[in-house]
Structures are given as structure tokens and as C-alpha cells.
């Protein structure tokens, strides 16, 4: 590994730690500002005032923010994300229970978006100004504009009710692989459609920009085939903004696919966080948000590091933020 890359990696890891700390500080601050008594929601009507008080103490909500954060991070360093005060289960266990569903959905949606969006973007760029380009532009913007949960309902009506091809519920009780696969199709599609439109537009724009570069003109002058120029030389560079967006997208989908999870009655991290916030179940919120933040930051670190693999001209420099040429 080159010294500058190593320096870059170290600085990014430090930044990652600071981002995680900052995000958690924000979360702890917000949780102390948000109105609402957790005991009213979590303990139900019969809880005695003494029990409510003890419960608040168990959640650490009677402590100042800096103490709560200190306890939280020192527990995290020991691999303990806390305990769900309702069920007594470890928060880590609850997260590990749902995270496979989230990861599978996120990565299948992003993969589908990439394998569909990039070719569509290339096609639109290479057929600029044609009817097909205009239609693609219209469809892409429509995909971006329509919220995922609306798409989900339409997909369910078409494929589950009218055609009766696919199931409504997004997860299987039987647990067989084939059944799980069938149940994945519609949630993946619902989540991916917006990203397909987005990636297609982004790739088109990047491709058009790259296709106007001198090195592409030179390649043409050398008599290289248009196919080779498009796919080997232009696409590689045009993909860099898309990769950046994908990094952000993966992070966003980790905790943000909640509406799709609700519509398809599918377990997931988004639902876990949403439910915990609604109930003011702070130990679960803190643990789950920490996982989302860490994964988000790590994915984006990997994305940044992948730039140099795609374009060897890019080298990392600790003297400036991100990737520099």
C-alpha cells in the first residue's frame, strides 16, 4: 500500500470516528429535546410511579447527555449495544435479527438499479435527442418522482392481485429459499425503480460530458470502435459520480426503506428504528442508529477508495478532502 493511501486511510478512519461521535451526539441531544414520556408509551397504563422512575433510570434518561454518551460508547467498545428495556433482549441481537433482511433488500435493489440504470443511461447518451432518449428521460423522471410506497402498491395490485404471479407479503414464514426469492421480487423492484431513473439520468449526463473530452476524440481519431470507446474508455470515467451516489444510496436505504418494509410487511432495520422512535425506546434507537451510521460511513469510505481502482489517475491525498487528481 502506498504511503499517501495509508495516510488517507488513517485520516478517513479518524473522520469516520468523528462522524459517528457527532451523529450520536446529535441523536442523544435530540432524544432529550423530543417531548414525550417513554414510560407512558412503553409501560402502559398500569405502571406505578416508582416503576416508571426506575425504568427511566434503567434507560439512563435521568443522567446528563455526556454521562449517557460516555456509558453508551464504553459499552459499545465492549461489544454491548445495550438492552431493550421492554423485552430484556440485547439490542445487538435485535439488530442482527433484522439486518440480513435489510442488507438483502438494499443490495438487491441497488444491484437491480445498477444493471438496469447504467445501460439505460448509456443508451440515452448514445442516442441523444432521439425519441427513445426523450421517452427514457420522461420515464426516468417519473420513476424518480413517484414515491416508492406508491410504486409498491401499484406493483402489488398488478403482480399480486390482477396477475396473481407474486405474493403480497415480502417475507416467508416457511423460510425456503425459493419462497424468499419470490417474496423479494416486488419489494426489490419497488425500491429500485427510483434509483434506476436516477442512475440512468446521472450516467447519461456523465457520459455526455466524458464523450466530449479530448481523449475520446483522440481515440476516435485513432480509429477505435465506437463500442470500445463507449464501454471501455468513456463509461469507466462516467461511472465515478454514479459510484459516489451509490455509496450514499446504500447508506440511505439501510435505515430508510421503512415504507417499503411496512407495505410488504417485511422485517428490517428501518422498521426497527421507526418503531423504537415512536415508542421512545431509546436504547434500541441508539443501537440501531449507530449501526446505520457506521455502515453508512464505511460504505462511503469503500466508495472513496474504489475511485483509484477505477481511474488510476486518482490518488488520495491527506491534504484535501476526498479524492483528488
Amino acid at each position: 500500500m502506498q504511503a499517501d493511501t495509508l495516510r488517507y486511510l488513517t485520516s478517513r478512519l479518524v473522520t469516520t470516528a468523528l462522524i459517528v461521535f457527532g451523529a450520536m451526539l446529535l441523536l442523544f441531544t435530540l432524544s432529550s429535546i423530543v417531548p414525550g414520556d417513554p414510560t407512558a408509551v412503553l409501560l402502559g397504563p398500569q405502571a406505578s410511579p416508582e416503576f416508571s422512575k426506575r425504568f427511566i433510570s434503567e434507560m439512563g434518561l435521568d443522567q446528563p447527555i455526556h454521562i449517557r454518551m460516555w456509558r453508551f460508547f464504553s459499552n459499545v467498545l465492549r461489544g454491548d449495544l445495550g438492552t431493550d428495556v421492554v423485552s430484556g433482549r440485547s439490542v445487538l441481537g435485535m439488530i442482527l435479527n433484522v439486518i440480513p433482511y435489510t442488507l438483502v433488500l438494499t443490495f438487491s435493489a441497488i444491484t437491480l438499479a445498477v444493471v438496469t440504470g447504467i445501460p439505460l443511461g448509456i443508451f440515452a447518451a448514445t442516442h441523444r435527442g432521439t425519441v427513445a432518449d426523450n421517452i427514457l428521460a420522461f420515464v426516468s423522471v417519473a420513476f424518480i418522482a413517484v414515491p416508492g410506497f406508491v410504486v409498491a402498491i401499484f406493483l402489488l395490485l398488478i403482480f399480486a392481485i390482477w396477475l396473481n404471479w407474486l405474493p403480497v407479503l415480502g417475507t416467508s414464514q416457511s423460510g425456503t429459499l425459493l419462497d424468499e426469492f419470490r417474496r423479494m421480487i416486488l419489494p426489490t423492484l419497488a425500491l429500485a425503480l427510483g434509483w434506476i431513473g436516477f442512475i440512468a439520468r446521472l450516467v447519461r449526463t456523465s457520459m455526455l460530458e466524458v464523450m466530449g473530452e479530448n481523449y475520446i476524440r483522440t481515440s476516435r481519431a485513432y480509429g477505435l470502435s465506437e463500442r470500445l470507446i463507449t464501454y471501455k474508455y468513456a463509461l469507466k470515467n462516467a461511472c465515478i459520480p454514479t459510484i459516489t451516489i451509490l455509496g450514499l444510496g446504500i447508506g440511505r436505504l439501510l435505515g430508510g426503506a421503512v415504507l417499503i418494509e411496512i407495505v410488504f410487511a417485511r422485517p428490517g432495520l428501518g422498521r426497527l428504528i421507526y418503531g423504537a422512535i415512536s415508542e421512545r425506546n431509546y436504547p434500541v434507537v441508539q443501537g440501531a442508529v449507530l449501526v446505520v451510521v457506521v455502515v453508512f460511513v464505511l460504505v462511503n469510505l469503500i466508495v472513496d477508495l474504489s475511485y483509484s481502482a477505477i481511474d488510476p489517475r486518482i490518488r488520495h491525498n491527506t491534504g484535501s478532502a476526498g479524492a483528488v487528481g
Partner: protein, 521 residues
Amino acid sequence: MANKFSRRDMLATGAGLAGAGAIGFPMVAHAQATGGQRQTINVRAAAEFDVIDPAFRRGPTDGNVMRVVYQRLMSPKPNSSELELDAASEIKQTSPTTIDFKLKPGLMFTDGFGEMTAEDVKFSFERIGLPPKEGAKESTYKADWLHLVGVEVKGKYEGRITLAQPRANIFDVVIADGSGCIVSKKAVEQRGAEFGFKPVGSGQYQVASFDKQKGAVLRRNPAYKGTRKGNFEEINVRVITDSKTADLALRAGEIDFAVLAPAAAEPLRNIAGLTVSDQPSIAYVWMGMNMEKGPLADLRVRQAIRLGVDVDQMLLAGYNGKVPRLNTALPPQIMGHWKEAPAYKRNVAEAKSLLAAAGVSNLKLKLTVLNQPEYQNMALVARALLAEIGVTIEVDAQPGGTYWSSGKGDAGKNLELYMARFNAKHDPNFVLQWFTPGQLGNWNWSRWNSSEFDGMFKSSDSETDPAKRRQIVMDMQKAMDKTSAYVWLTNEASALVHRSWLKPASVPGWADWQYADFSAG
């Protein structure tokens, strides 16, 4: 550009359709199955699971599974609130404060935890009703076992429950309900917090798999010794929080039973193979006023507000008019319901004159509601109607976490108008307990501090003569009516949607499901 459909395209399309067909085929076959062939049913749970532990359960989703996993000394008969013996072979009230019981021998706990004994009964009841032992957590249902002194073990199968003072509702609300579920002492001690999702009972079903967000698979317990063995080998309880998804899953044949709001069930009424029936609920909804807050402390102002709204119009907006109107706290299904309670009609002139007599003009009030469509819609109608009598309403729709604490503690002193919905049980004291002075700063959001009401509440709690108790309960409702602090709205209704071959079973009130008594045919 010419369109060409090549041989390769055709093969690809054919393969795609064949694949889709193959994937989709089991779905169609599943949807077409009829009751006679079914060993498994799929039912909807509208909320996520928490724990299947009687001491720490949180809602109906947990409770409905608990009722088939555990046995109780007594339990309600199918589709009835009448009780019959369950784990007990005998149960007898030997004095106003003592109940003797004898267990049926040979009741076996699942997972090899042995036979149920009186020691398990003692442990089950005392872990809820008595102060927790060192390090243990207090049960969130402690109040169910109010006045419990203890359970004395008199033999392997025999015991005595002792109360500090008589309780009229001890059988219906406690012994035969969730807090009367009998757990294996050994299993609770051995499994600790895991017990909540790996429960050990002796009921008709055992939990084969459990997932907070996905649901639970209940499999018939071969060791169950009782007469109500359950009519299906397996019951899949699927968590589907969104009612539209439940609607689609019912249409697609993926679930066989769901409870929906009547308006949400409307599109399903004409679907072949599905039966929809509306059933009145026992949950009660009202608009309340804080009797200590500013002008609302004046009875005439509260009377004016009660006369200024039109309950029927509010119900039309909130529930499409598909729910019964409620005129008193207790719904008709509950003992002591005040049948002759006045159904107040809107009277703008009288409302205005009451406000004028109270010397109130340009009154501005905040109406706090939960941010759900039915309450928000009703609040908007109330705002429009009250504007006509000169009262300006600001509707404050809050999310659950904030809303449920808005009437508590010091925040509750600033509450003005609110709309609330409470779940009920088939016992008047359970319904009315939230309006006592002891609940000030907690759930008595109208801040009604009546020692007379409190006295009647205590009398009713210990009165074992049904006729006398009924009269006390009626008097309590009349006292509430006199305050004018409560505009009763509805006891709601539930639409039961199920396959036409499936017969659901429930304790009246349509919230406590008896899955083991669901049957085909």
C-alpha cells in the same frame, strides 16, 4: 427503425414467462385451497410482537398468542365471556377474600419442563402481583392483581389465593385473562429474558418460531390435556401493520383472517370467498375537557361545548358513520351500562347563552388529538361546529410518543380539550378506573377530582352482589355526566374479514381472539 422480434427474443420472453409462471403457480394453488383441506391458517396481527410473557406483555398481539400458549385456572368459553374450568379441576370462592383451587393432574409444560403444580400457579400470580424480588423487574400488569396477599400452596395440585380485600372482577379480569396465565416456574428461572420469546406453557399450541416484526408460528401442542384442542395443526400469526397490505393479502389468499376498521374493510365486502362482518367493540372514545383549566373550570362552559358539537357529524367524518354512538362511558356489552343516558343534541342557541351566562367570549382552546385520521377528522368537525358558538379551536395532532404523555404530570395541567381512546375489558371497574382521583396526573386527563366517584368506585370494586354493583356503576356514569367534561363519541366497531369457510372465535368485544377455537366449516 424497424422492430424485429428475433428467435433469441422469443426464447428469452418465453423463458421469462415460464419462470414467472413457475414462481407464481404455488401462490394460485394456495389461494384456491378451501377450508376442508387446510391444516394451517394465516391470521393477521396488526401490531408487532413484544414478549409472550404474561408479566410483561404489551398489547393484543402478545395477548392473543398467550391465550393459546398458556392455560389459566379458568378461561372464557368460545365466543363467550362465560367462564369454564381450564387448568383447574375445581375452583371455589371460599370467602370474599380467598379462592381455593385444585389443578387437573398431568398438565405438562412444553420443552420438557414437567408437570404443572400449584407452585407454578403461585409463581405465576405472585410474579405479577407482588413486589419483585431483588433484581427482578416489576410487572407492567401489577394492578391486575391488586389486593393480592399471596398464593398458598396446600398440596402438589392445590392452593389458595388470598386477597387483602374483596374484588368483584377477580375471575373475569384477572384469573381468566392474561394475568391469570400459568407459566412454568422452572422455565422462567432458567430462560430469563429469553422466556418472552421462547415461552413454555401447557396450552393448545406452542410457539414454533417467533419474530418481533414477522410474526409467530404456533404449532399444536401434542401434550395438551384439555377439551379445546385447537382445530388446525398450525396457526401463522403474520404481523401486517398496514391495513392496505392486509386488504391485498386477504384478496391474494395469503391470510385467512384480519380485523380492519369498517371503512378499510368496505372494498372487501363483495369479494367472493370472503366474509365481512361488523362487530361493535368495547373500546371507548371521547372528547374530554380539563376541569381545572381556565374557563373550562366553569360548568356552564363545559355544558356549552357539549351542546356545541354534533357527535353524529363527528362520527361521520371520523369513521364514515360506520360505528355506533356512545352516550356514556360504558358500552352496552359491559355490565352496568347506563342505557337511558342522554344523547345530547346540538343546540347552538343554548350553547351561546351558557357561554354568555358564564361571561365568556372569544374563547380559544387547544384540542389535543392523536395524529390518526379518525381523530383528526373528528377534531376538524368539532372545530367547525364550535366556531359557530364562538369558540375557536386549535387542533394539535401529536404522534403517539408525545400524545400519550400530554395529559400526564405537570403537562396535564395545561391540557385543555383532548380526544382519547381507551381499550376496555368486560368489567366496569376496569373501564372506569382511569377517572378516579388516584389517576390525577396519570390517566385522569379531565382532572376530575371527585371523592364521591372514588367512593362509588371502591364500593363497586368489592361489591359481589351483581344487582347492587350494577346500580353503583350506573350512579358512577350519572356522576360523570353531571360534570359535562366528557363528550362520549363511540365504542367503535371492528370489521372481521375472513375466508367464508373460517369461523373465528373471540371473547365478546372482538379484541381478544381465541385462535384455538377458530374452526373450518
